[in-house]
Symmetry: D2
Subunit: 138 residues, 4 copies
Amino acid sequence: MRHAYACPIRWSDMDAYGHVNNGAFVTYLEEARVDAFFRRGAEQGLTGLEGGVVIRRHEIDYLKPVHYTDLLRIELWVPEVRHAYFRVAYEGFVGDAQVCTARSVLVPYDLDAGRLRRLTAAEREWLAQLADEPAERA
Amino acid sequence: MRHAYACPIRWSDMDAYGHVNNGAFVTYLEEARVDAFFRRGAEQGLTGLEGGVVIRRHEIDYLKPVHYTDLLRIELWVPEVRHAYFRVAYEGFVGDAQVCTARSVLVPYDLDAGRLRRLTAAEREWLAQLADEPAERA
Amino acid sequence: MRHAYACPIRWSDMDAYGHVNNGAFVTYLEEARVDAFFRRGAEQGLTGLEGGVVIRRHEIDYLKPVHYTDLLRIELWVPEVRHAYFRVAYEGFVGDAQVCTARSVLVPYDLDAGRLRRLTAAEREWLAQLADEPAERA
Amino acid sequence: MRHAYACPIRWSDMDAYGHVNNGAFVTYLEEARVDAFFRRGAEQGLTGLEGGVVIRRHEIDYLKPVHYTDLLRIELWVPEVRHAYFRVAYEGFVGDAQVCTARSVLVPYDLDAGRLRRLTAAEREWLAQLADEPAERA
């Protein structure tokens, strides 16, 4: 199951070229994760990820320029959940047109202790619900 | 030859976790490119890249957290120059510690015409000076 | 008549203190203006402001801290319209609590010509609809 | 005595109009304060302001457009120090041209306790060194 996020674009996300700056997309991915993992997690009593999660790696492909008046939708899923990290995949759309794809590796982090931690069983189970395309993994 | 850029960090680049946000690094890479390709290019009469260059892809690995008081140095080089695109590689350091590595694919863009363009011969020659590690290409 | 704007807050708008950074509010004011003057203007064929408008002055009072989970509403009105500039006033609310007030002076700008310009009669008439509290000015 | 800060401008501070966005100036003021109050304070063992200081009010006048290649200097001073707040004034220059002026009201904040606090005597004495225009106070 994918998580779909209607991502607000700000006028100031555009740069001097008159298109959304490449750096803003990284914030859009973050907002999609915040919606999927922080807001929805809090609704289910899972606040650990909001309490600390670190980006280990990003890959982003930029496919089409985006303008502030575009209605951007980020679809997000979790292709892999391990004890010490999980992967997130994304596709960004304006209407039917795919404007970006991305992949991230995230590591849970204990902010108070100042060190990485493992995912709990409850977190792994919850994240696994966002796995996509089970046929491909059969 | 690598291009080294002393990258200013802003206090507001830090997020609620008290570390520089992952999105700010994408801006740091941009500032390193702006220094290497726009400012230096303008000094040599090569203003075409400033006039328009598009990010096609980014890969970033985050290796260590960074704080606003850190002195960040971004080293940048150009491992590949083709007619229609070029690649940029980066390493970020705080002192001797490597804090991030990254790779980008860039495509020159004719902003007035609103379409991609090819690199000129002068641009290719200039970018080739930033190739690194000549021994590997021998 | 006031224009009300439901202003999305991003997680990364928060700074290391765990509250929305003061600078983000300036962007919120901009988004409220973009919604009122660019998006709505375009719907009515008035695209001149989107084509160029310059901030001459801002005053902002910060009344309460704001968190990324807050639902922020910006109310905006136009207390004064002159030939060469107009004033915008704002109040920000989270629920019933007022979190900020602000005032701006805006000047239309001809981006192509690179110089300030006067408001057209159609623009002045349209902006005057956003005047607030006529009783007070009677 | 004024504090002078050479303020780095980022290419992405420019918006679609090709000038530095008005919101970026608020960040520039913050960077000037961080330099004056956090970095210099830490050098003298005064870390209380870095530990928490809240903006109560900003006023900014924008006098000239700024481009990313401009060398921006922010001069900052402290016209008033009270027990519960202090005022900061700023002037921004590109070369000899004044590009902005601003005034802020700042309130020290105890981040751990989550409430405002008073300035210590040591902080007031230190801030008073940044008072400007001694002739006026004679």
